[in-house]
């Protein structure tokens, strides 16, 4: 009967999952394509060079409108992140001014312990400067966005540990702009063509397709330094988008690498421990008919 109840439970599970059709919300944007992230999968770790490039994109482009109030300058030199040197971080921080009521004049140069300064004093100021749209804070944004996968993909996600929906979406969003409303744009129920409101931009992946942010990146807008061995990274929209998405994932999950490292130790321990417990239990019960 032990077997019977297992079969029953297994059948219940399979049927429950098979019943799940893809639920696609009508107003959602297109399904983003999965990218090959260095931090994807159980063995994935951040690529330090990529995070440094992503930081450059963030600092030179995004940071003029988007804040990252949970990130301190010191985080940039922590292991598992962009790993800038302490001297680099001190020099970087000193370029910024932060509000400090105990300082002369109310401001002073930042130190590594300070948080990343926000570009606007408050939300209303941010809206006023951006045509009414609020540029969201980047601190945990990569985890606040996700991809809704159709069946059976979402079932597999539990076993592959797929957590990269956020960066996938951000990459898709950054590369998904159209200069004009494309023919693929959804029509109204009565067949009227898609109406793009004044001051909005058409994006394939943004829910509702009308986004307040102008296309922030384009080929060649940021100058990547060549590597020491003369290797250069392509200065393309796709490359910038990938790099900044990776950097945003790091901001949202700065301890991802050490979390996975600990996880391996814990899981290996538990599996070995369970094996020993199983052997002990069997030996103990060997003399009992049950």
């Amino acid at each position: 009967m032990k077997k019977h109840s297992f079969i029953l439970a297994a059948a219940a599970l399979v049927a429950g999952l098979a019943m799940a059709p893809a639920a696609q919300a009508a107003e959602a944007g297109m399904q983003p394509e999965r990218q090959a992230w260095s931090f994807g999968g159980i063995f994935g770790t951040y690529d330090t060079n990529q995070l440094q490039r992503g930081f450059q994109v963030f600092r030179e482009v995004c940071a003029s409108c988007h804040g990252a109030h949970l990130i301190a300058f010191r985080n940039l030199m922590e292991p598992g992140g962009p790993e800038f040197s302490e001297a680099q971080v001190r020099a970087l921080a000193a370029e910024y001014e932060v509000a400090d009521i105990t300082a002369d004049g109310g401001v002073r140069p930042a130190v590594p312990a300070d948080r990343w300064p926000s570009p606007f004093a408050n939300d209303q100021e941010a809206r006023d400067a951006n045509g009414g749209s609020m540029p969201p804070d980047f601190s945990v944004l990569a985890k606040a966005r996700g991809v809704k996968d159709p069946f059976p993909t979402w079932v597999f996600n539990y076993f592959t540990g797929y957590q990269e929906g956020g960066p996938d979406y951000i990459h898709a969003l950054l590369t998904g702009y159209h200069a004009e409303v494309p023919e693929t744009a959804p029509h109204g129920e009565d067949g009227t063509p898609f109406q793009l409101p004044e001051g909005k931009y058409y994006n394939d992946y943004f829910p509702g397709h009308a986004i307040g942010m102008a296309p922030p990146l384009a080929d060649g807008v940021i100058d990547y330094a060549d590597g020491e061995n003369g290797v250069s990274v392509p200065e393309t929209l796709d490359q910038y988008s990938t790099d900044v998405s990776a950097f945003m994932m790091w901001m949202a999950e700065p301890h991802l690498v050490s979390r996975k490292q600990t996880g391996f130790v814990v899981l290996i321990f538990l599996v070995v421990f369970a094996g020993l417990m199983w052997g002990t239990k069997r030996k103990l019960w060997a003399g009992i008919e049950h």
Partner: protein, 416 residues
């Protein structure tokens, strides 16, 4: 309480203690020598797993409370502070968040085990009712805990669920305001939910103690459902079941650790990484997965019945779904406990499990066809199972012959 121990104090100190506060005797009787049916299968290990889950939630929760700030302006960032800056904080926080889900996995398995093997039948009705009470308290605790990170789903989940109270005629609005501490979810709500979220686990622990007490009066049910006849049917709890339960706990910790270390956010909703904002409603408000079956029942009643409007109807249906669990000992009057010996019951039970998973799935879907119709069908089967199928089966079903004792069934299996 029953005497099962042959405990004799070993020395003068133990004798002295035994005459005044017999804790050692108590522990021997209830944690070591307690006679336990020897044929319990692994579905029976989930009781011990649940004790572990409660312990994990309390320990991690107490540590989290040391670093958490229950204030609408600071709560969201304080959870991130725990993840980023507190030593070991990201593991403790992830364990607590994933732990809630694992708690409910174990809780549902434990309950469905009871429903299959008839563990609610005489003389275990009080044991079962206390169990349902623990389920309700745990649900309330988990719901309030989900508010604390103060993300979008926290806020809007609280807004939707607290509206349940306003469906009650006459006093509903007042009760809702009392629960929320105002007209809408806000700082007073967060404060009182934090306070209650800290209190309820200890009440749960107390009810668990009663649950185990009620278990130790009649003793365990077992997969055959035949009462223990003599000592040949049982083994002492320790070391046989302590060992088996510990093994099961370690195995249970493997998927638990998988989620904590490799997919800590997969059981949550991305929207909860956006700070609560009363001005922006999320596209889809979904409760945590473990509340979905009951959420579906709440939403399934989208029509008025006589003078009862759909809102109150939904609340009555959801309350009724939980009430069914409380009275199931009197709905299923079949003398045979174990579903193994009930040829018809088995199929209806299997369908009930599928139906419950269906209810959970439908709770996560938007309120549109075909989901709304399916939700009504699944809700109907939930109630028909308890109110019609169980009472009727008890009368018309011919059960298979029962073994005369646990020992006989065990021997039969060994020689088969």
């Amino acid at each position: 309480m029953s005497e099962h121990s042959t405990y004799i104090p070993g020395n003068a100190v133990e004798k002295w203690l035994d005459d005044r506060l017999p804790v050692v005797r108590f522990a021997r009787e209830h944690l070591m020598d307690f006679p336990t049916p020897k044929n319990l299968n692994y579905w029976w290990t989930f009781g011990a797993i649940l004790v572990m889950c409660l312990g994990v939630q309390i320990v991690t929760g107490i540590i989290l409370a040391m670093h958490y700030t229950p204030n609408v302006a600071m709560a969201f960032d304080s959870v991130e502070h725990i993840r980023r800056d507190v030593n070991g904080g990201r593991i403790i926080q992830a364990t607590h968040a994933v732990g809630a889900s694992m708690f409910f996995v174990a809780l549902y398995i434990h309950m469905f085990r009871g429903l299959f093997y008839g563990s609610y039948k005489a003389p275990r009705e009080i044991l079962w009712i206390l169990g349902v009470l623990i389920f309700l308290l745990t649900t309330a605790t988990a719901f309030m805990g989900y508010i604390l990170p103060w993300g979008q789903m926290s806020f809007w989940g609280a807004t939707v669920i607290s509206n349940i109270f306003s469906a009650i005629p006459l006093v509903g609005e007042s009760i809702k305001q009392l629960v929320l501490g105002g007209f809408a979810v806000g700082n007073p709500t967060l404060n009182r939910f934090f306070s209650l979220h800290y209190l309820l686990p200890f009440i749960i622990a107390a009810v668990v103690a009663l649950h185990i007490w009620a278990l130790h009066v009649p003793g365990n049910n077992n997969p055959v459902g035949v009462e223990v006849k003599d000592t040949r049917d049982t083994v002492p709890f320790h070391p046989y079941y302590t060992m088996k339960d510990l093994f099961a706990m370690v195995v249970f910790m493997i998927p638990f650790a998988w989620f904590v270390f490799f997919a800590p956010d997969i059981l949550g909703h991305p929207d909860n990484y956006i700070m609560a904002n009363s001005q922006v409603t999320p596209a889809h408000i979904v409760p945590e997965w473990y509340l979905l079956p009951f959420y579906t029942i709440l939403r399934a009643i989208d029509f008025n019945v006589l003078f009862i409007d759909s809102k109150l109807g939904g609340v009555i249906a959801m309350g009724g779904a939980m009430l069914c669990l409380l009275i199931v000992p009197w709905l299923d009057t079949s003398k045979v406990r174990s579903g193994t010996f009930r040829p018809m019951f088995k199929w209806f039970y299997g369908l009930f499990v599928l139906n419950f998973l269906g209810l959970a799935y439908l709770g996560a879907q938007e309120a549109a066809e075909p989901y709304t119709t399916l939700a009504k069908v699944c809700t109907a089967y939930y109630f028909i199972y308890f109110l019609v199928i169980l009472p009727v089966l008890s009368r018309i079903e011919t059960p298979k012959p029962l073994p005369t004792s646990i020992s006989e069934s065990v021997l039969g299996k060994a020689h088969a």
